[in-house]
Amino acid sequence: MTIDWPRLIDLLAQHVQLSFAALGLALLIALPLAIWSVRNRTVASITLGFASLVQTIPALALLALFFPLLLALSTLFGDAISPLGFLPSLLALTLYALLPILRNAVTGLRSVEPAMVEAADGVGMTSLQKLWLVEAPLASTTIMAGVRTAAVWTIGAATLSTTVGQPSLGDLIFAGLQTQNWSLVLEGCLAAAGLAIAVDLLLGLIESGIAHRRHARIWGAGVALALGLALALWPSPQSDKPVVTIGAKRFSEQYILARLIGRRLEAAGYDVRYREGLGSAVVYRALASDEVQVYVDYAGTIWTNEMQRQDPEPRAAMIAEIARWAKAQHGVQLVGPLGFENTYAFAVRPDDATRLNLKSLDDVVRVAPDFVFGTDVEFLERPEWQMVQKAYPLRFKGRRAFEPTFMYRALSLGEADIISAFSSDGRIAANGFVILKDPKGAVPSYDAILLASRSAAADPRLIAALEPLVGAIPVEKMRQANYRVDRDANKQSPADSAAWLDTAISTKTKGKNR
């Protein structure tokens, strides 16, 4: 596969900016805290306890936890605080980097020999002079070891900031995981690992420079680090074209649709950026705050998650209601439905369907105690599952959550007996899975809808470039496009699949027009 160098370099630069900022902030916080902790036992137990506690929270959860917190703050302080992107990533990574720096600094400062302290006092040092001339230099190698650990952790964990909408090398990893594009995953991992190793080596040089009093070594490595940061901060060449940022959630269809929109906008003379791998909850927020200008969501998702509605509504009425609500609340324009639906569809293996005579969810109630329910990672927490449970008394033998890709595989391998599949997914037909009917209409409609942010809505040329996509994508075409990315053999990249889809729907519309 070919490497998209400009994108890789851009993500690397963003990754460097984020992790260096977090590391710098952590140093600014941890070092004074360490000094205070060494002088006061109570402070030491509080700071070290807090830093250890933070460390027990998985990095992904820590990132996610900042979202509601900052969301609350942003309602208080307005647009200055963004709950997405750089700020939550910076805060979470800073907290994460605190422990190794703090712990090593405290250990280093405490291990300064009493004779050194006595000598420093004896020659008449003030406590500040003692810190600067004796304690800090003697503890510096231990402190540097902590900084190195923190640097490696931070660079590694920064890949997770993709999930809260901060571009990083994690974009490559998450996109690769979702589309099973292992070389893309490898590209992201290698770049992050290479960065971590390079920074660790340079910090190691500084550490040994301090230990052996080689000032040239300290300065050389310091300058190299500063140079790396300067390169990362170097503004990318400003394009004279207007820039549009397109968002995408974390599955193949979203990657493909983002690229399809991108193709259309590029053809209309826009410069396009992608913010991919965003969580469901995050992506609409990003649009509402105009950090993302265009993306595709699904009517039912907005209905239940954003509007907190659980009442079923006919499709057309639901879409009209969403359009009215989004405009009023966030100035978001619903450009229109794309023409296909991607709803939760309950799928079983064909042999089970025949053997047990399964046709609808009502039939599943009967066999549920023998069935393992496979879902994507968020389904069981979503209101749709509550709605389904209300309509059908399903009591499964067990439940297992998978990344979407592995969910289909789990069903074919018998790891799960029924899954909450996505109706536009090409792997349903490819595996011959049987979709069960929902006679009680428990699952709301999930028409794919094209949304444009406040600023995009104000640009008639942009809206005009998007409008041909409305009603243009039949579900069969979407399934084929998805399958091109999701199939095991002869996989295509989302961009290639988008190119195919673009041609496929263009010829069709042209044919219609004639």
Partner: protein
């Protein structure tokens, strides 16, 4: 130590007088020093001896306020040490202790010049460092070495040079040669006594070596349970009559000397 002219200290200078005025210090319920009253005349070399835990180090450290007494006062030339900021006070007093405490990340010259750097933010001139190294009988080339490259005796010579760099009148020495081998200890002790005389210092030295105290000091204070139980010249101590604690301490070197003499005569 070397016989070249002493660094810029006037010939006539004399170290200050030191007075302890009812100085007490307790740690929890344990009394370390108990209402100590004593006077030191300018230019005197006082050795404080006593068993472990008798309070001799604690008493010494009340002078440069490494330990703050619970009550009483220490005066240097009549001025209460508590009137000065601790770091300013300490810069005017030489301090040498058993663990030496040379800063490992600084050269010998930087260690010697640390006081100057603290007070004036300036390095000590090379010439002055050289003079101080002469004074403690170390080659001038040692200036650029790191402490780890020096033997224990050489390190303590640097320690003495560092203490002398600020031209103090008063030197506090807390078992300064205690960790050195006997030959080095003897040589350093003798050389320091010569420096004390030549620079006109007042010296207070804590030691557990009675022979060292008898040979080098002008006066010896014997401490027991936080009090000075005897204050006498070496000759008076050897003559006896200074109390049981003093007798017990003097008995050791006396007995050793007698046995060595007996062995020599026996051959």
């Amino acid at each position: 130590m070397a016989t070249s002219s002493p660094p810029s200290r006037p010939e006539s200078a004399r170290g200050p007088a030191v007075a302890f005025e009812g100085v007490s210090k307790a740690y929890g319920g344990t009394i370390a020093i108990d209402r100590v009253r004593a006077d030191i005349l300018p230019g005197t070399f006082v050795a404080i001896v006593g068993s472990s835990g008798s309070g001799k180090s604690t008493l010494l450290k009340t002078v440069n306020r490494l330990i703050e007494p619970d009550s009483g006062a220490v005066r240097i030339d009549g001025q209460d040490v508590a009137d000065q900021e601790p770091h300013a006070l300490r810069r005017s007093i030489g301090y040498v202790f058993q663990n030496i405490g040379l800063l490992p990340h600084m050269t010998v010259a930087q260690n010697i010049g640390i006081g100057s750097r603290l007070a004036t933010r300036r390095q000590l001139p090379v010439e002055r460092v050289g003079d101080l190294l002469d004074l403690v009988d170390l080659p001038r080339a040692f200036a650029s070495r790191l402490p780890e490259q020096l033997s224990g005796g050489q390190q303590q010579r640097v320690g003495v040079a560092r203490a002398l760099a600020g031209e103090p009148g008063l030197m506090l020495m807390d078992e300064p040669f205690g960790a050195l081998d006997p030959v080095t200890r003897e040589a350093l002790g003798e050389q320091y006594r010569a420096l004390h005389d030549r620079l006109g210092l007042t010296t207070i030295m804590v030691t557990h070596d009675m022979a060292e105290a008898l040979l080098f000091a002008d006066r010896i204070w014997v401490m027991a349970a936080g009090r000075i139980v005897a204050d006498a010249r070496p000759a008076q101590l050897i003559a006896g009559g200074c109390g049981p604690e003093a007798e017990a301490l003097v008995a050791v070197p006396r007995l050793q000397a007698e046995r060595i003499t007996a062995m020599r005569d026996g051959v």
